[in-house]
């Protein structure tokens, strides 16, 4: 499956392009200079996107492009390197967006002979792609339209006659252009930013992939030794090894003890009902087995079953974000309900974080009297009402009644409802917040505020401050810390390394292990400084994409609640990031980055330094 003569190891050297306007399929060489400058994944997709897609386009129009991109480490034996980037202009935030998912599809795409897949145009009827090594077909998917992702996958596996293919599908939400629709990839999700609706806008129901090739590396022994070393770290680093036992919910109880478990639409960060939704309870009551992504020894994924009753469900999870979103944020203290909520989101194909936060926002509106039973179709939408929450997920999925408004997310819903409800819409750039607080953590705060996606815990990680590795109470140097955390994250998103390995890949800056993994598979001999320069180039490239859409310093915000309402109880009581503190942190961050303090965007000098001269005419 190797394209002959590609200069660097780890790459196939070939991109697959599908134009759905005329069902055109083309294979084109991967540019060697772009591989070297942007590595792969999000970084490379951002460069391609900048080149090929004009600003200000309609994200749900045929001009938008949906790019699935692998990285050089994908498909090798290096653990925690199984992720795939799917990128497009988001219909939810209005800017370039990357959603990263785990599992098997990225490695499979490489085994089929492609570093990435670019989908453009729009089918005149529903279609799916069947990528079977060299053979690529655009097939009729009218019989799949209206099916939930898992039904569609089952039909495709039967139709193609291969149980081992890997499939990306959208649900009905994506078909209908719901603002925060997601893509399901086998059992994993590219959840955020409405990427599923971009896929749906192209009349593309599914992508099925079978690959039988392999990934070539220049020195197999070096890759083997690197994998061995990283596997040893997975097995011995306390912050990583614990993931296999309880998955990402392992520290729900600990976070509550630390006063950082977001609760009641972020009104507080201590949840009285925590004991019923911990990783331990989940393991005891619903977990039936463990699952891992391709070649990964972290083994964080749980497989859970509620066998009968009103919450009967089978899910991949629950992950921490489910427990946060439908548990503490909506004050529902029943693990079986959370499994059902997770399953409903998957079946409709909607992002569970945005769904949960939208419901929690509505619950707060209801308790404040801004919404009444007349607005909620008779549902007593109080915090803690599990049945009401599940009904509201269904309404969002079907965009029915209040669900039609909540399906637009908290930013838009609060604009419609008014009555100061924007003050408790917990989002930035339209994207609702994940379950990781920044009120006590200044570097995380400025990282969230300046992140290209908004409320994403994958543009910044609070772990350096949350672990005590860095003093959370000090403001000085936090702009630099946030920038260096951005760098290790974006380099991971280009190599497609999983952020759950953060003590290995980070956590305060790009680690030697990350650089070694990249060097081992590509044959490059990058120093730390050279690797950091690539990451800085990638981060600036993404900032240019946002700037080209009109984003600037004023968009780098935190939810009003985080700036004006200190945590009211628990050991972090009193923590918040006042507006003036945030502005000071932003100055610090932009200065460290060499960005213009007024616009918050890269300067001409910075773009020249990073080899991004081509963007000067657009943003300077």
């Amino acid at each position: 499956m190797m394209a002959q003569g590609f200069k660097y190891g780890g790459y196939v050297g070939q991109l697959l392009r599908i134009n759905l306007n005329h069902k055109g399929v083309s294979k084109e060489p991967l540019r060697e200079d772009w591989a070297r400058e942007f590595v792969g994944g999000t970084g490379l997709a951002a460069r391609i996107f900048y080149e090929e897609v004009r600003p200000k386009i309609d994200p749900l129009g045929p001009e938008n492009k949906l790019i699935f991109m692998t990285g050089p480490v994908n498909g090798t034996i290096i653990p925690a390197a199984s992720r795939t980037a799917v990128c497009a202009k988001s219909p939810y935030t209005g800017s370039f967006f990357h959603s990263i998912f785990g599992g098997y599809l990225g490695p499979e795409l490489k085994f089929a002979g492609y570093d990435g897949l670019i989908v453009e145009g729009k089918g005149d009827h529903p279609v799916y792609l069947w990528i079977d090594d060299d053979r690529v077909e655009v097939r009729d998917a009218r019989h799949l339209w209206g099916k939930n992702p898992f039904e569609a996958q089952e039909i495709l596996r039967r139709e193609i006659g291969d149980e081992e293919i890997h499939i990306a599908t959208i649900g009905t939400a994506g078909e209908q252009g719901a603002p925060y629709a997601m893509i399901l990839i086998d059992i994993r999700a590219a959840g955020r930013g409405g990427i599923g609706s971009v896929m749906g806008s192209k009349n593309l129901k599914a992508i099925a992939v079978r690959g039988t090739g392999s990934v070539r590396v220049p020195n197999i022994l070096r890759v083997y030794n690197t994998a061995l070393r990283i596997n040893e770290l997975v097995a011995t680093l306390p912050a990583v090894q614990g993931l296999s036992g309880y998955g990402t919910p392992r520290n729900v109880a600990a976070m509550n003890a630390g006063g950082i478990l977001p609760t009641r639409n972020w009104q507080t960060e201590v949840f009285q009902g925590m004991k019923e939704i911990t990783g331990e309870v989940m393991r005891d009551k619903v977990v039936k087995g463990d699952r891992a992504c391709f070649a990964c020894s972290i083994n964080c994924t749980k497989y859970s079953v509620v066998p009968s009753g009103p919450y009967k469900s089978i899910i991949n999870g629950a992950d921490y974000e489910t427990i946060y979103g439908f548990g503490s944020i909506c004050e529902v203290d029943n693990i079986e309900v959370l499994c059902k909520a997770d399953e409903l989101c998957d079946h409709y194909g909607i992002d569970l974080i945005s769904t949960a936060l939208s419901i929690a926002w509505a619950m707060e509106c209801y308790e404040k009297g801004i919404l009444t039973k007349k607005d909620t179709d008779g549902i007593d939408l109080k915090f803690g009402n599990a049945a009401g929450m599940l009904l509201m997920i269904e309404k969002i999925g079907r965009r029915e009644g209040l669900g039609a408004l909540l399906a637009k997310g908290t930013r838009e819903a609060s604009r419609v409802v008014g009555k100061k409800s924007f003050r408790f819409a917990v989002q930035n750039k339209g994207l609702e917040w994940p379950g990781h607080t920044c009120r006590p953590f200044p570097a995380a705060a400025v990282g969230y505020a300046t992140g290209p996606r908004g409320g994403s815990h994958h543009d910044i990680r609070p772990t350096a401050e949350k672990s005590g590795l860095v003093d959370r109470k000090v403001l000085e140097g936090k702009g630099a810390l946030a920038a260096e955390i951005n760098h290790w994250l974006i380099l991971c998103d280009s190599m497609l390394l999983c952020h759950l390995g953060e003590p290995i890949w980070g956590p305060t800056k790009i680690s030697a292990h990350t650089v070694e993994a990249l060097n081992a598979v590509t044959g490059w001999n990058l120093s730390y400084e050279q690797a950091r320069k690539i990451a800085e180039r990638e981060w600036n490239m993404i900032r240019c994409l946002s700037a080209r859409e009109g984003f600037n310093r004023s968009d780098d915000q935190l939810p009003i609640r985080f700036m004006e309402e200190p945590i009211p109880e628990g050991p972090m009581k009193g923590s918040c990031i006042p507006k003036e503190t945030l502005e000071r942190l932003k100055d610090d961050y932009y200065s460290y980055r060499g960005w213009d303090l007024k616009t918050g965007n890269p300067t001409q000098e910075k773009l020249v330094e990073l080899g991004l001269d081509f963007a000067i005419k657009d943003i300077c």
């Binding site: 036992g245 392992r250 520290n251 005590g468």
Partner: protein
Amino acid sequence: MARVKVRTFSAIRDVLGAEVVEVEVSLPATVDSVFQALLMEYGEDLKKKIWDPEAGEMAPFLMRLNDEIIRSRFDSDRPIKDGDEIAIIFPIGGG
């Protein structure tokens, strides 16, 4: 002597066998004395959960000492008195 309650969760709780265990340390004592006592009692199994072999020191995590948040890497010299409670709060990345 000081009796100190240690509250743990998930993987560390599994090693200790209970959510809360009590340890006795001689006064004057520090947070570090409490960890030394725990390691004496629970040995290598506990060490694997809290020790960073690459850094050759305690893994970084927060603790709640009564109502105050302290740090494993920097606050282990904090004095301990009879009746204190320590909760170990490992960081979580999130999916």
